[in-house]
């Protein structure tokens, strides 16, 4: 995230936000920051930016959120998605952020393939890092 965040109308029309909307099918401006997604997230304690903060940064047009670790810690368990009172599918926004990062060559996770995982674990993890 940028150390200094400039608020301007232009940020709201940032091309990356439009792309995010296309990939996720979600409207980040529907979010009213109740924080329910972060409250119920089982992996929030491992995230650098909480799910509701990710959405806030997107609302402000901060492209720096693409470098956040949070989308990679997301397990796509969909708890936030079924609980959001505004019907925002947060898991789809996390997936869109991963896709945008991957398509720019950013992949801040390490795959530790040093033991016998079930195929579903391997395919799931590999799908997550496939642009």
């Amino acid at each position: 995230m940028a150390a200094e965040l400039r608020l301007s109308r232009e940020n709201l029309n940032a091309p990356f936000l439009q792309k995010l909307g296309e990939i996720s099918g979600q409207n980040v401006f529907a979010c009213y920051q109740c924080g329910k997604c972060s409250a119920g997230c089982l992996f929030a304690e491992h995230m650098d930016v909480l799910p509701n903060q990710v959405i806030r940064l997107l609302q402000l047009g901060d492209e720096g959120v693409l470098a956040a670790r949070a989308p990679w810690v997301c397990a796509a368990c969909l708890a936030c998605s079924v609980r959001c009172p505004k019907g925002v599918d947060v898991a789809r926004i996390m997936e869109a952020l991963r896709q945008l990062a991957l398509r720019r060559g950013i992949m801040p996770v390490q795959l530790k393939l040093d033991r016998e995982f079930p195929q579903i674990a391997l395919v799931g993890a590999l799908r997550k890092v496939t642009p």
Partner: protein, 289 residues
Amino acid sequence: MNRTPAHHPSPITHYPSRLLYFPGCALKDQARGYEEATLAALAALGYEVRELPRWNCCGTVYALAQDDLMRHVGPLRNLIRAQEQGAEELLTLCAMCYHTLSRTARFVQNPENLRRLNAFMDEEEDYRGSVRVLHLVQLLAGLAERLPRAVKVDLAGLRAGAYYGCTLLRPRDVAVDHPERPEVMEAVLAALGAEPVCFPERVECCGAYLTVTEPEAVRLRAGAILLSAAQNGAEVLVTACPLCHFNLRERRPLGAPKLPVVYLGEVLAWALGVKPVPEALAPRVGVRG
């Protein structure tokens, strides 16, 4: 289980006695015991279960990105295989297969999505959108009234905690029950004569495939789930997901309760007398308290 939930999908009570079955990779490998037990039990219940010919990977993870149709091709191909067999239902045992296949079936209920995918998959016959993806727990819930009469081995005293995980309950449009307060697994366990135990963590994620990239986060989850189950009196955890099964066993932290983790189909097979109750659990079984 006397709570009345806010919303429950109406139970399905009529299925044909012949069923087409989609196994998926885990049921042919780590979860072979789940398949064996379930198929033997369904045969004992009078079902003729046939494996889907030429099935391929379900995709494992349902594609959440909306600008990439390619990732729906794998699961849809399986639905086309089922259509070729003239099947109206496709039975799944693995919760992850149920999830990807049922969400894909739902995705192509939209005529435009169906048209685009059919156009893209030129080498296949067109999918007509009629296959209904079914999970074992839905099938058993529909038989809940019949099951007690089929029970051969008394499981009374087996305090079983149903662990749903994510993929059977979320999102709502493919959920087998209420996503926050489900009771379908408990109802099936009760119909089989076991004592269902509810615990808060039963609907919370185990970490799924984060087990590859964030094993420590998954270890914390496995510990929380096992502790929650044990503190509420469960002596065995029952799941329908091979990935939950793996994480709850292989990511169990030191000092966490050592609850056995078994598959729903295994409990079914014990109750129907087609598979023996494992020795570790045998002392708990048949003792009415």
